[in-house]
Point group: C2
Chain length 68, copies 2
């Protein structure tokens, strides 16, 4: 398993946290995704088959900007 | 129909808006509920059978404070 940390802008509340974590953990190859609202980031544990691009797109689809 | 405006603290994003509007419009006697995030308020259109207390409780159940 690998870990990728992404900086995510615009997450303000626990709904946002759940939306981003849910969108990521729905993807094949992601084991866990934990958002820190305070640090504007998400830590993703994943295998080597999923791309960073796919993670970013899943977050952007939820309406948040990623500073990769 | 009557209109009641409630001041609600802690709504930060469109998820919050949807949570509060959804919780209110699920109640019998409420025709519509429109949140303004910018003004920290919700405007409720309702009949005379539903109490302000019931509206406040529905909002508080979603995790927000009401300054009635």
């Amino acid at each position: 398993m690998n870990e990728t940390t992404l900086k995510v802008e615009g997450m303000t509340c626990n709904h946002c946290k759940a939306a981003v974590e849910g969108a990521l953990t729905e993807l094949d190859g992601i084991e866990s995704a934990i958002v820190s609202l305070q640090d504007h980031r998400v830590d993703v544990i994943h295998n080597d088959k999923i791309s960073k691009r796919a993670m970013i797109e899943a977050i952007e689809e939820q309406g948040y900007d990623v500073n990769a």
